[in-house]
Symmetry: C2
Subunit: 187 residues, 2 copies
DNA sequence: TTTGTTTTGGGACGATCGTTCAGGTAGTTT
DNA sequence: AAACTACCTGAACGATCGTCCCAAAACAAA
């Protein structure tokens, strides 16, 4: 006999868990991982302080859960970008350039949060699979006849993003376009 | 009349300043920026706690000074790498691959510290010139007939480094070599 | 030696931190 | 209804935090 009705208590708990994760992500986007404390997260989510310790055994657990969730979103985003490009029959240069420009412009805070995940993953091996997820998605979806060229492409995307983060003003899609073209051009 | 003999007091102070910066860098390499406090830095340097507040008006100032110093070292390192490659008459692929392998292997902690500078610079505009310094050194030293190819090269280096940081084990110079070759190959 | 400047370092203050705990509420099962 | 489980939350503890204060020491200039 399968349980169709879920436990209302667990449902509420699960909902609050995601609310806390979302609040944590907002704080990371705004102030970085350094700004994450039990109290700031609770205030951002509008819940009492102890709620974070109840649902996450420690602050570290909350951070790990948040950044894993963040990485999952990034992976699905990459997935749909590829899907979009394919449905248009393009090789993807335009879509990639647009995605990069958006990541460095309106979604700049989110991009910074994602690279804080990278650095946290460098120190915490448990986070590495999550940090590599978008790389894996790309690797599994894209046909790569040239292994080396594909690795260069992946590295180039990461480099463009992290360098774009320290530009005084974010580069536009038009500025990024030739570089992305170069990265995608076969030889 | 020019003062030839420096003030002994200021000399001592300057020495301790650099000691504090070096201690801070060691802590960042080991535990990340999150591990930097007045007390941990002072303990690492073997000086009393208040020494950090005396020589640096705030913790933030200490961090900024440390990461600027770190960036300067990185820039001179890049400078000498290019110089070394030139004296051998090579195009630099081997030297670059070796440098990357070293950055991701024995000097992994230092590399992580450098990318924490990147992320800090993304949030603090005052740090951006320091974070861009090694890029500027490369740009000024290397003749780039192809602007786009050069930008791809710079991005590729950054991408290889940050992706190498989340690998379960650091890539070797041999593994990196074909990718670096591809990045440097003119077309 | 006297006076002034810079560095040193111990002690302490208030704020904030992560986490614990116990009592209370809501929902499920019997 | 009673027993049980899961979630909620206010209060509080000890630890650690950044920073300030002030007297002592080291050094330079007079």
């Amino acid at each position: 006999m399968v349980k169709l009705q879920v436990d209302g208590r667990k449902a509420r708990g699960e909902k609050r868990r995601t609310e806390l994760i979302e609040a944590t992500l907002r704080i990371i986007e705004r102030d970085g991982v350094a700004g994450v404390t039990h109290r700031t997260v609770a205030a951002e989510a509008g819940v009492p302080t102890t709620s974070t310790t109840y649902h996450f055994s420690s602050l570290d657990d909350l951070l790990v859960a948040t950044l894993i969730s963040c990485a999952r979103d990034m992976a699905t985003e990459v997935y749909w970008m590829i899907d979009r490009a394919r449905s248009r029959g393009s090789r993807g240069a335009e879509e990639v350039a647009a995605l990069l420009a958006e990541a460095l412009g309106p979604r700049r805070g989110r991009t910074m949060a994602e690279y804080e995940l990278y650095l946290l993953a460098a120190r915490k091996p448990e986070l590495r699979p999550a940090a590599r997820r978008w790389l894996d998605v790309l690797t599994s979806m894209v046909r790569h006849d040239d292994e080396v060229a594909f690795r260069v492409f992946l590295a180039g995307i990461d480099g463009l993003l992290i360098q774009g983060l320290i530009d005084d003003e974010p580069p536009s899609a038009e500025e990024l376009r030739p570089v992305v073209d170069y990265l995608l051009k076969p030889r």
